[in-house]
C-alpha cells in the first residue's frame, strides 16, 4: 500500500522520492507558522502541566515534612516527659530511702553536739593557776635571811606553809588537768561520729544535687522541644534512625531465634497433631508449632506490658496496679508452661531423630551404630527448648522501638520518594521544553532550501530599496528594518497569522532584522529556577 502511494508519481524510485520531497518541503514551508505554533504550544503545555504537578508534589512534601516534624516532636516530648518523671521517681526513692532516716540522724547529731558541749563545759571549769603560786614562792624566797632569828623563823614557817599549800595546789591542778584530758579524750569518738554523720548528709545531698542537674538537663531538652527548635528535631531524627536500625537488627536476630525454635518443635508436633494433615499446602504440625511460638511471643508482650516495660497496649497500661500484677503473674505462668512443653517437645524431637536415623541406617543396610556422648545434644535441646521462649518473650522491647521509629523512617522515605518524583517531573518538563525548541529547529532544517530563497529575496529587496531612495519601498524597508514587520499586512501567506505575529512582535523587544528573526521563538513566561 505504502509502496503504491510512493510510486504514484512515477515508477522511478528516485523521481518519486524527489517529487515527494518537493511536495513535503513546499507543504512544510507553507505551514511553517502553524507548525512552529503547534510545537511551541505543545512544549509549553507539557512544561506548564508538569510544573503544576511538581508544585502540587512540593506542597504535599511540605505537608509530609510538617507531619514528620509533629510526630517527631510529639515522640520527643513524650520521651522527655517520661525521663523527667523517671528522674523524679528516683529522687522520690532517694528521699524515701535516705531522708526518711534524717530525723534520727538529726537526733543523733544533736545528742552528739550536746554531749560535746557538756564535755566542753566540764573541761572549762575554775582551776588553780599555778603561775600565781610560783610568784608568791619567789617573793618569799627572796626575803632576807640574815635578820632577826625570830623573824627568820616566822618567815621560814610561812615559806614552809606556802610551799606545802603550793604542793597541794599543784597536785590539785595536775589532777584537774588529767581529768580535763580524760574528758577531751572521751570527746574524740564523738567528733568522729559527728564527722561520719556529716559525711552521710553530704553524700545524700550530693546525690540529690546530681539528680537535680539531670532533671535540669532534661528540662532544657523539653523546653527546646516545646519551642520546636530545629536542633531538637534533627537530634530526634538521628535518634529515631539509630533506634530503627538497632531495633531491626535485634528483630532479625529474634526471627532467627524463632526459626530455630520452630525447627526444634515442628517435628515432635506431628506426634501430637499428626504429620499427614495439611492446612492449605502447609502441614498442620508446622502451623501448630508456629502458633505455639506466636503465643509465647504474645505472652512475653503481655508480661512486658504488665510490668510497664513497654507501652504498646494502652489498655493494659491503664489498668490498676493490682490487675496488672495479676496479669503479669498469669502471663508469666503461661510462659513457663509453654517453655516446659517446648522443652519436652525438644527432647522428643531428639528421640524421634534418633529413631529416624536408626531406621535410615537399617534401610541402607548398615548396622546401627551407638554414638557416644549422645546425651549431650539431648540435654542441649532440652535446655534450648526451655530457654528460647523466654528469650523470645523479650522481643517486645525492640518491637516497640521498631514500631515507634518506623513512623519516622516511613515519613523520611515518603519524603525521599516525593522529592525524587518532583525532580523527575521538573526534569521531564524541562526536557519537553527543550524538545519543542529542538523540533522547531529541525522543522526549519527540513525546509532550509525555501528559507534560503526567502532570505535571498529579502536581501535583494533590501539592497534595491537602499539603491532607490524616496521610493515607497524605502518606507516599507525602513519599517521592516526597525520593527521586523511587513508594511503591507495583506501580502503574507495568511493575514490572520501575520496579524497574530504582529501583535506578538509588538510585545517583544526589537531585534535586528536578520534572517535569524525567522527562527524566533516565543519566550516561555515561566521561571525554571525556583518552584
Amino acid at each position: 500500500m505504502l509502496t503504491e502511494i510512493f510510486h504514484i508519481w512515477s515508477d522511478s524510485p528516485a523521481l518519486s522520492l524527489a517529487i515527494w520531497l518537493v511536495i513535503s518541503i513546499t507543504l512544510l514551508y507553507a505551514g511553517r507558522p502553524h507548525g512552529h505554533q503547534l510545537l511551541r504550544s505543545t512544549g509549553r503545555a507539557i512544561y506548564t502541566s508538569l510544573r503544576l504537578v511538581a508544585t502540587s508534589i512540593r506542597q504535599l512534601e511540605h505537608r509530609v515534612q510538617e507531619r514528620n516534624r509533629d510526630v517527631l516532636l510529639a515522640m520527643g516530648r513524650d520521651a522527655a516527659e517520661k525521663s523527667i518523671e523517671r528522674e523524679f521517681q528516683r529522687i522520690n526513692t532517694l528521699v524515701d530511702r535516705d531522708l526518711s532516716q534524717y530525723p534520727s540522724l538529726h537526733r543523733k547529731l544533736a545528742d552528739t553536739l550536746q554531749k560535746i558541749q557538756d564535755d566542753y563545759h566540764q573541761a572549762s571549769g575554775d582551776v588553780l593557776l599555778p603561775p600565781a603560786w610560783s610568784e608568791v614562792m619567789d617573793t618569799i624566797s627572796a626575803l632576807p635571811t640574815s635578820g632577826d632569828p625570830a623573824v627568820v623563823k616566822v618567815l621560814e614557817n610561812i615559806q614552809d606553809a606556802v610551799e606545802s599549800s603550793h604542793q597541794q595546789s599543784f597536785k590539785a591542778y595536775q589532777k584537774s588537768a588529767n581529768e580535763r584530758h580524760k574528758i577531751l579524750h572521751a570527746m574524740q569518738p564523738e567528733w568522729r561520729t559527728l564527722n561520719s554523720t556529716m559525711d552521710k548528709v553530704e553524700a545524700l545531698l550530693g546525690g540529690l544535687d546530681e539528680r537535680t542537674k539531670v532533671i535540669d538537663r532534661h528540662m532544657a531538652d523539653y523546653e527546646s522541644l516545646r519551642k520546636a527548635e530545629d536542633k531538637a528535631v534533627n537530634a530526634l531524627t538521628a535518634s529515631s534512625l539509630t533506634q530503627f536500625f538497632i531495633a531491626s537488627l535485634v528483630l532479625v536476630i529474634a526471627v532467627f531465634g524463632g526459626i530455630i525454635n520452630f525447627h526444634l518443635i515442628a517435628l515432635p508436633m506431628s506426634e501430637m497433631v499428626g504429620g499427614a494433615s495439611y492446612i492449605g499446602s502447609v502441614r498442620t504440625s508446622d502451623v501448630a508449632a508456629l502458633v505455639i511460638i506466636m503465643v509465647e511471643i504474645t505472652m512475653g508482650l503481655f508480661l512486658l506490658e504488665a510490668l510497664q516495660i513497654t507501652r504498646l497496649f494502652p489498655v493494659i497500661g491503664s489498668l490498676d496496679d493490682t490487675m496488672r500484677k495479676r496479669m503479669a503473674i498469669a502471663a508469666f505462668t503461661i510462659l513457663v508452661i509453654f517453655a516446659s512443653i517446648e522443652a519436652s517437645l525438644a527432647y522428643m524431637r531428639d528421640l524421634l531423630a534418633l529413631d529416624r536415623e536408626a531406621l535410615a541406617q537399617s534401610l541402607a543396610g548398615a548396622t546401627v551404630a551407638q554414638a557416644q556422648f549422645r546425651w549431650i545434644p539431648s540435654v542441649g535441646q532440652l535446655v534450648l527448648g526451655f530457654i528460647l521462649p523466654f528469650a523470645l518473650a523479650f522481643v517486645g522491647i525492640p518491637l516497640e522501638s521498631f514500631v515507634h521509629s518506623l513512623r519516622t523512617v516511613l515519613g523520611l522515605l515518603l519524603l525521599v520518594v516525593l522529592r525524587t518524583v518532583r525532580l523527575s517531573v521538573r526534569a521531564l518538563g524541562g526536557l519537553a521544553h527543550h524538545l519543542s525548541t529542538m523540533l522547531i529547529s529541525l522543522y526549519d532544517l527540513l525546509i532550509m532550501i525555501p528559507l534560503s530563497i526567502e532570505r535571498a529575496v529579502k536581501w535583494y529587496r533590501k539592497t534595491s530599496v537602499q539603491k532607490i531612495p524616496g521610493d515607497k519601498g524605502d518606507a516599507d524597508a525602513a519599517i521592516e528594518e526597525h520593527t521586523g514587520l511587513s508594511a503591507d499586512p495583506g501580502t503574507g501567506p495568511g493575514t490572520d497569522v501575520a496579524t497574530a505575529h504582529t501583535n506578538r512582535r509588538k510585545t517583544r523587544r526589537s531585534r535586528s532584522s536578520t534572517d535569524d528573526s525567522e527562527l524566533d521563538e516565543l519566550p516561555l513566561n515561566v521561571s525554571v529556577g525556583k518552584a
Binding site: G274, G275, Y278, G280, R356, L359, L363
Partner: protein
C-alpha cells in the same frame, strides 16, 4: 480513651478479622492432597528372577522417602498376578512419625522375608494382571500423587487361559519402569526391546498414565520427584 476510639478500634479489629478469615478460607478452600501412594511390582519370572535384589533397593528407597499418611504396597508378578496372594506387604503410614517408623520396619521385614524364602521362578509373567492389581490399590488409596514401579523386563508371557485384553485405569498414575533388563533375544534384535518399551509406553499413556523409564537405580530420585 473515649467511646469513639473504642468503636474505631473495634471496627478495625473486625475488618482485620474478616480479612484473616477470608485468607484462611481461601487457603482451606482447595487444599492440595499431599499424600503419596506407591506400588511396586516385582517380576519373578525365570528371565528376571536374578534381579530380585533390586526390589530390596527400591523398597528401601521408597520407605526412606515416604512420610506419615503415605501408602506403599509391594507385589510380585508370576503366572497369574491379579490375586491377593501376590501382595507381599502393604501399609499406610500412621500420622505419628514414631508409629510410621515401626510400620516401615515391619514392611521391611516382610519384604526381606519374601526375598529370603523365594526359590522357584515362575514360568510365565502376567504383567497386566499385576498392573491391574496395582491400579486397584492406587485408585483405592486416592492419594494426591500415585506411583507404580515395575521391576521387570516388560516381556509379557501370559498363560493361555488368562484373558487380559481389557483397559487398565491408570488415570494420573506415574508408571516408572525400573531396571528393564535386556534379554538375550534383545541382543539379537534390539528393535524388539525398543518396540516392547514403546508398546508399554503407549499402553500406559492410552490409559491415562504417565510413562517413565529408569534403568539406573541411582536416577530413581528424579523419577520420584
Amino acid at each position: 480513651m473515649n467511646s469513639y476510639s473504642y468503636v474505631h478500634i473495634t471496627r478495625r479489629a473486625l475488618v482485620l478479622l474478616a480479612i484473616c478469615t477470608a485468607l484462611l478460607l481461601h487457603g482451606c478452600s482447595a487444599p492440595e492432597d499431599q499424600r503419596r501412594a506407591a506400588f511396586i511390582l516385582i517380576d519373578i519370572s525365570g528371565d528376571y528372577a536374578s534381579e530380585l535384589q533390586q526390589a530390596r533397593v527400591l523398597s528401601n528407597y521408597l520407605l526412606a522417602n515416604l512420610n506419615s499418611g503415605d501408602s506403599l504396597a509391594i507385589a510380585f508378578i508370576d503366572n497369574s498376578s491379579f490375586t491377593e496372594r501376590n501382595v507381599i506387604a502393604r501399609a499406610t503410614f500412621d500420622h505419628r512419625p514414631s508409629v510410621a517408623s515401626q510400620q516401615k520396619r515391619h514392611f521391611q521385614t516382610q519384604v526381606e522375608g519374601f526375598l529370603r524364602k523365594f526359590k522357584v521362578p515362575s514360568h510365565h509373567s502376567d504383567i497386566t494382571g499385576g498392573v491391574l492389581l496395582a491400579s486397584d490399590y492406587l485408585q483405592e488409596m486416592d492419594a494426591g500423587r500415585k506411583y507404580l514401579f515395575i521391576l521387570s523386563d516388560l516381556r509379557e508371557d501370559l498363560p493361555p487361559w488368562l484373558d487380559r485384553d481389557l483397559p487398565v485405569k491408570l488415570d494420573s498414575v506415574q508408571v516408572v519402569a525400573v531396571n528393564v533388563k535386556r534379554q538375550r533375544q534383545d541382543n539379537n534384535s534390539p528393535r524388539d526391546y525398543q518396540n516392547r518399551l514403546a508398546l508399554w509406553q503407549a499402553r500406559v499413556e492410552d490409559n491415562g498414565g504417565q510413562w517413565q523409564l529408569v534403568n539406573d537405580m541411582a536416577r530413581l530420585e528424579r523419577a520420584w520427584q
